[in-house]
């Protein structure tokens, strides 16, 4: 462990040493829960007629707040939010999939753990479950929906981490990758199972004799490569490597190219968008688009327009970039980013955690207790609150 990390541990341990007495916590929590239930009951009664109408369209609409206005209003309407009668993409809230067309689907009991990610397939869903604690593990389940008589869920794979990604020209078909004690595996999901599996061993220590290690997990597929990522112990810095299953070679980006962190995959699945530092020790970062094969820079911008402290979501047609950071959401014209153009719109808003694009013009963003609908032709983010949600909503990735 590094000395900085030791000081952090020491600081936390001293600070949190002896908490003050907290009498009556359980009583207050129970009383609070009862108030929530009473409020739900009142809201449910008042909204009954509205709910029937909305659910007929498969909508999840519990409440709305005024729309969040972008700082640039030239291109869109202004005013209060309008109620969304349908969801542009599917989301999962508390184990229920709210479908954009068919209504609701309650996910079956998939055993211990919590739902982490969900992918929509032509014949059902793939669901990643995670169990935390000392025996932490991940599992991938297939929940078929095409035939109600045979919709029994089945566990596809399990291990320390699982991942699903869209296929690429070099690796066609829906890609499933996972890590377990035997190594890292990748295969193609077909017919309710994973076929054509290839396995590699990932070295935990791979840094030119430096006493530094990182446990890497598959995160996505780009071109013909599986991208693996992890955090190096002793430094806390990110590590991203690439593995080409068809060729069998494994490349550590630590020695291959200037590369700090992967931000996204281009919509065609061919390139990585990431950051790098132009010179040794430089705090400023540059933006780069990489071909994973050799990590050649296809596009670069120095310094980067934005200091990414969150997520970058490219639209499926490659036209837009949606950038989420802790205090704001920004929309960029992807074709103009590399020329240094600033955001088309900025929504100052904290709390946005994740999101996904429904099509080239619509995206859904999630906060711990709401979803926001963003349209590229509007300056207003329409927010749908989920006051009853006990877990943050999850955007379903559509791989059909």
């Amino acid at each position: 462990m590094g000395l900085l990390e030791e000081t952090i541990r020491d600081t936390f341990a001293h600070r949190a040493g002896v908490p003050p007495a907290t009498d009556g916590l359980a009583d207050r929590a129970i009383a609070g829960a009862q108030r929530v239930r009473r409020r739900r009951s009142v809201v449910a009664s008042a909204a009954a007629v509205l709910s029937v109408a909305l659910l007929a369209f498969g909508a999840l609409t519990v409440a709305t707040r005024p729309g969040h206005q972008a700082s640039d209003t030239a291109a869109g309407p202004t005013g209060a939010a309008t109620l969304e009668s349908t969801l542009p993409v599917e989301i999962v809230v508390d184990g229920t999939v709210y479908q954009s067309v068919d209504g609701r689907l309650r996910l079956p009991d998939l055993g211990a753990g919590s739902v982490q990610q969900v992918w929509r397939m032509a014949t059902g869903y793939l669901v990643a479950m995670y169990v935390s604690g000392a025996q932490a593990s991940a599992s991938l389940w297939y929940v078929p929906t095409s035939d109600p008589l045979t919709n029994t869920p089945s566990m596809i794979e399990n291990g320390e981490a699982v991942m699903v990604a869209a296929g690429t020209p070099q690796r066609p078909g829906i890609q499933v990758a996972w890590r377990d004690d035997a190594g890292v595996h990748v295969g193609v999901f077909i017919g309710g199972t994973v076929a054509d599996t290839v396995t590699t061993q990932v070295p935990d220590v791979d840094l030119s004799g430096v006493d530094w290690s990182a446990r890497l997990y598959p995160t996505t597929v780009v071109g013909g490569a599986v991208v693996l990522a992890g955090t190096a112990t002793g430094s806390g810095l990110g590590v991203s490597d690439v593995w080409f299953p068809a060729r069998g070679d494994y490349v550590s980006t630590a020695v291959a190219a200037p590369f700090s962190a992967m931000l996204a995959v281009t919509p065609d699945g061919e390139h990585i968008i990431g950051t790098y530092h132009p010179t040794k020790g430089d705090k400023a970062s540059c933006l780069g688009e990489y071909d994973p094969d050799g990590f050649a820079l296809v596009n670069q911008l120095c310094p980067s327009l934005f200091s990414l402290d969150g997520k970058l979501l490219p639209s499926p047609d490659g036209r837009w970039w949606l950038v989420i950071d802790p205090t704001q959401v920004r929309l960029y014209d992807a074709q103009r980013v590399w020329q240094g153009a600033g955001p088309v719109r900025t929504w100052p808003m904290a709390g946005v955690e994740n999101g996904g694009w429904a099509d080239g013009g619509t995206a859904l963003l999630t906060t711990p207790d709401s979803v926001l609908v963003m349209r590229t032709d509007s300056a207003v983010l329409n927010e749908i609150t989920l006051p009853d949600a006990t877990t943050p909503p999850i955007v379903v990735a559509d791989l059909r």
């Binding site: 000395l3 900085l4 990390e5 030791e6 000081t7 952090i8 541990r9 936390f12 341990a13 600070r15 949190a16 908490p19 907290t22 916590l25 359980a26 929590a29 129970i30 609070g32 508390d94 211990a112 982490q116 995670y130 935390s132 604690g133 932490a136 320390e160 840094l207 030119s208 530094w212 446990r215 995160t219 990522a229 992890g230 955090t231 430094s235 806390g236 810095l237 990110g238 630590a254 291959a256 200037p258 590369f259 962190a261 790098y276 530092h277 040794k280 430089d282 705090k283 990414l308 402290d309 969150g310 802790p326 205090t327 904290a350 955690e353 994740n354 006990t390 877990t391 943050p392 999850i394």
Partner: protein, 190 residues
């Protein structure tokens, strides 16, 4: 009768776990009073979900996830924009050492980090979660955990350095390889 049983089980869970959860909340929001508010919110949600959670292990994991989510969003709303004091407070404790200064400075600078970065540090260095576990608790991907952790550490290192504090130098000599790795290898610019 079933209702009373749920209440009894819930009270037992709170008695067993509230102190630990309160500590985590405190590290995330910065003061005990706010931490108690966050914990109560998390416990209310946990109680509402009690019946479907079932096993105590699932309850514990759920409570922690809700706590972290609540603390993170709360902290974003309430702490955003706060800046550290320019000078450290007078030392009135019983630990007249450089370590005390390091901890005070570290605590102040941790309080200026973005909510998610602070949450990552608490989960990684206080709760001792792996990066995959941290990602699951925060509902983010592993890549984001590693980048948030790296940014947080870099920020703390820079701010400590700017304040003339070198915890590494006082606590123990920094290995030469450490400097090399942090500054060059991962950037590929060596």
């Amino acid at each position: 009768m079933a209702h009373e049983s749920v209440d009894a089980d819930f009270r037992q869970f709170v008695a067993l776990r509230s102190a630990a959860l309160l500590r985590t909340a405190y590290l995330m929001v910065g003061d005990w009073s706010s931490a108690e508010d966050v914990l109560q919110t998390a416990l209310t949600k946990t109680y509402l979900a009690w019946k479907r959670l079932g096993e105590i292990e699932a309850v514990d994991a759920y409570a922690r996830k809700v706590l972290v989510t609540t603390a993170t969003s709360w902290w974003r709303r309430r702490w955003h924009g706060e800046r550290p004091a320019e000078t450290l407070p007078e030392h009135g404790g019983v630990d007249p050492s450089d370590a005390w200064v390091d901890r005070e400075a570290m605590w102040r600078f941790v309080g200026t980090l973005p909510a998610r970065q602070r949450a990552v540090l608490v989960l990684r260095f206080y709760e001792d979660l792996t990066e995959t576990e941290t990602a699951r608790v925060l509902g983010i991907n592993v890549g984001t955990v590693k980048s948030q952790s790296a940014r947080a550490l870099a920020t703390l290192r820079q701010r400590l350095g700017a304040s003339g504090i070198e915890p590494a130098a006082r606590v123990r000599p920094r290995p030469a390889a450490d400097t090399h790795v942090q500054e060059g290898v991962r950037d590929g610019s060596a």
